[in-house]
């Protein structure tokens, strides 16, 4: 059936109440050794997918393959998939050592071998010497690392992580992101990671599956996802985004002319809206728009600065441009500061290739 994908979702549907589909006709392939993140707003079906893969939920329709085997009939404890839970799910009545030894003990691995594995797993997350502690005696970050070590200690080929960093503060979260990324690189395990934090997804993953409304909106590498979103949802969800509503009035090669709702015409890159008469939402990243462009750009317009917000390393401008009063511009903080004031009129330019005509909102 499947052809050499490590994990494969095939037309998977999931409904909890028989009235609403939480996951709709999902198709997703994951290769061995990949770090794939399922990213999406809450209620988008990403956690449900993870739970189906782990075996805690059964697909209403469709099949899931792991290593070319259908896994619907395999109970969770025989799937051999490591899992890190949202709130770590460390066993509170067991020490760190006992927590890590649990998967080894149920697999009847001899004690000296188990000790070695536990030691190795703990050194992987640099927690040697914590064996005798109870989970309650550890900080959030340490508990997190124990949970990661526990999911890896029995050498699973696949590890699932369900928003594992959600409960940590910002600094700790960032350092844990790198730590998990490095562990993944070092041992080459396949990781399926669920998060609603786009920065986390962009930093850690090989590929990201953006979920919305029970469907994968786009599955691609982080840079691809940011630079070339395939629809308005992805463009809105990942990073910052300026949008204009309008209608395609002319298409020529890899450019199209869009008449905005304000009446102005701009040049855009036809991605979804490809033919004349298509309604569209045009999406432009703030950093791709330039003030007072020196070289030639195929879009040049004037706008009025509505608000100036100082952010330290950069300054954000809110500009009233072509009927969009929330057009955001980013100016890097350099020594030759431009003369920026509220109410001032400025020239703004951008290339049509960065200005993607997507589906209408």
């Amino acid at each position: 059936m499947s052809n050499d994908h490590f994990v494969r979702f095939e037309n998977v549907d999931k409904s909890y109440d028989g009235k609403q589909l939480v996951v709709k006709g999902l198709n997703l392939d994951i290769e061995e050794g990949e770090f794939v993140t399922m990213l999406g707003p809450s209620g988008s079906g990403k956690t449900t997918c993870l739970m189906m893969l782990a075996g805690f939920e059964t697909p209403t329709n469709g099949q899931i393959y792991l290593d070319n085997k259908v896994i619907s009939d395999i109970p969770p404890h025989k799937r051999g998939i490591g899992m890190v839970f949202q709130n770590y799910a460390l066993f509170p009545h067991m020490t760190v050592y006992e927590n890590l030894a649990f998967p080894l003990r149920v697999r009847k691995i001899p004690k000296d071998e188990a000790d070695k594995k536990v030691d190795k797993a703990l050194s992987m997350v640099s927690l040697q010497g914590f064996e005798a502690r109870m989970p309650m005696q550890l900080s959030g970050g340490q508990q997190q690392r124990v949970a990661v070590a526990r999911s890896l200690v029995f050498d699973p080929k696949l590890v699932l992580m369900d928003e594992p960093l959600g409960a940590l503060d910002k600094n700790l979260r960032e350092s844990m992101q790198y730590e998990i990324k490095h562990i993944h690189e070092n041992i080459g395990v396949t990781v399926v990671y669920v998060t609603h934090d786009q920065t986390e997804a962009l930093t850690m993953s090989n590929r990201i599956a953006v979920f919305n409304d029970g469907k994968v909106q786009q599955l691609s590498s982080p840079d691809e996802l940011y630079e070339r979103p395939v629809n308005s949802f992805v463009a809105e969800f990942i990073g910052e985004n300026n949008t204009f509503g309008g209608e395609v009035i002319d298409v020529s090669g890899d450019k199209c002319k869009v008449k905005l709702n304000s009446g102005t015409e701009i040049m855009a890159n036809p991605i979804v809206a490809k033919s004349k008469g298509d309604k569209t939402t045009v999406s432009l990243r703030p950093e791709r728009a330039i003030i007072d462009p020196e070289k030639d750009m195929d879009n040049n317009h004037k706008g009025k600065i509505e608000e100036v917000i100082y952010h330290g390393d950069h300054t954000r401008l809110r500009v009233d441009l072509l009927g969009n009063k929330d057009f955001i511009l980013k100016i890097p903080n350099s020594s030759n500061r431009m003369d920026i004031k509220e109410g001032k009129e400025i020239k703004i330019g951008w290339n049509s290739v960065d200005c993607r005509a997507l589906d209408p909102k």
């Binding site: 109970p75 969770p76 404890h77 799937r79 066993f91 509170p92 009545h93 998967p103 149920v106 999911s151």
Partner: protein
């Protein structure tokens, strides 16, 4: 001014002003606690103290026969006492007869030794005929028991102000004439059986409650809200119904022509003319008490299970534990605080249970508390009822202590 004092490195003024600042709050707190404290003092601590006191208090008779006991002090208790003792008895009885209070000592003396009732009554009746002098002879003439040393020894034995005889009686022991502790006469040994039955019933009711409550509590803790609320009401509904109503409905259900027996006959488990007795014996006590005490097991179990994250069981399974292993190694150990609380609660309640065994237990299902009630209401031996009550209290405290040693009272969770 005072601020400077607080800030001084001296230290003492700071402490003083802190105390002063907190005194008002402490007084307020005390004031708020006072009603409850008084309430507990008056309706709980004081009665228990009184019960403990009453169980060993034997001063009533000492006060009523002061001269007798004074005269008996020098008597060795071997042969019959001499004239002064009889004279003292005469004077005491005469005083009691004039005040019409001799009834009380009759009851008390009869507990000590049966036969005193008719002895005292007859003596009091003929007290007017006794002339001065030679009291011993006249007493023996009125009733021959005055000539039997064992009655006078028994009388002397009631002299001390305090007595633990009631406690001995509670464990089927008694004093003989020479104040040695011996076993109760064979036909009067009932308390050992009663204690054992009480503990036995409490133990099995606890076990049954646990077996029934564990799955229910688990269901309650894991079901979605709308179902678990309904189930919770089902568990609590009997809890809100009067105890008497519940017990009586069990009487309806369990009687020989009742629905449960009908079902047994219909299923062919028993012949119609040979219906099993489900009531007025231990079976009835077990069934009714288990049902009535079930919520006390469910609630602590539920409150503990509610705090156990479902992801723990999932983690157990994802790590390769079979559902059974995961349950035994992860879920079950985490519910132990609830099990401890529930079992302790049910056992302690069951061991002192009264109404249900009284109504459905019959003679073979009666427990120690029924006996306490009997001595309170029928035999009017309050001292003995107090002694039994105190023994029950000590037993419960002992269980509590053992539990604390084994599991630790900190591990109890009621919610």
């Amino acid at each position: 001014m005072s601020k400077e004092q607080i800030l001084s490195s001296d230290g003492i003024p700071l402490e003083e002003s802190l105390k002063k600042a907190e005194r008002k709050n402490k007084l307020k707190a005390l004031f708020l606690v006072a009603p409850l404290f008084l309430f507990i003092l008056i309706i709980y601590i004081f009665p228990i103290g009184d019960m403990l006191f009453r169980s060993v208090d034997d001063r009533m008779i000492t006060k009523m026969l002061p001269k007798t006991f004074k005269a008996m002090e020098n008597w060795d208790g071997q042969d019959l006492p001499d004239e002064p003792v009889y004279k003292a008895i005469y004077e005491d009885l005469k005083y009691l007869k004039e005040n019409k209070t001799y009834g009380k000592i009759i009851a008390r003396l009869n507990y000590e030794k049966s036969g005193f009732s008719s002895l005292i009554k007859k003596t009091v009746r003929k007290l007017n005929k006794i002339e001065e002098g030679n009291y011993k002879e006249q007493f023996i003439k009125i009733h021959k028991r005055w000539g039997q040393p064992e009655y006078l020894v028994a009388l002397k034995n009631t002299a001390p102000n305090w007595s633990y005889a009631k406690y001995l009686k509670g464990v089927d022991l008694k004093f003989d004439e020479n104040r040695n502790i011996i076993k109760q006469d064979e036909d009067r040994r009932i308390y050992k059986t009663l204690w054992l039955r009480t503990v036995n019933v409490a133990f099995w009711v606890t076990i049954f409650c646990f077996i029934l409550a564990y799955p229910i509590s688990h269901l309650l803790a894991t079901l979605p809200m709308k179902y678990s609320n309904l189930l919770m009401i089902c568990v609590l509904l009997p809890f809100w119904t009067s105890l008497l109503v519940r017990t009586s409905s069990w009487m309806v259900l369990l009687q020989q022509q009742g629905p449960v027996n009908d079902l047994i006959v219909w299923l062919g488990l028993a012949a119609d003319d040979n219906r099993p007795e489900l009531m007025y014996n231990v079976v009835g006590t077990f069934v009714a008490m288990t049902q009535i005490l079930l919520p006390f097991m469910v609630l602590p179990l539920y409150s503990v299970m509610k705090t156990i994250s479902p992801s723990l069981m999932r983690a157990g399974k994802s790590l390769g534990g079979t559902p059974l292993t995961s349950f035994l190694k992860i879920y079950f150990p985490l519910t132990i605080p609830g099990i401890g609380a529930g079992c302790l609660l049910v056992f302690i309640l069951a061991i002192g249970y009264y109404i249900t065994p009284a109504l459905v237990g019959g003679a073979s299902g009666a427990l120690i508390s029924n006996n306490i009630a009997y001595h309170m209401k029928s035999s009017l031996d309050w001292a003995f009822a107090s002694a039994l009550g105190t023994m029950l209290l000590i037993g419960v405290l002992a269980i509590y202590w053992v539990y604390n040693k084994l599991v630790g009272i900190d591990n109890i969770k009621l919610g």
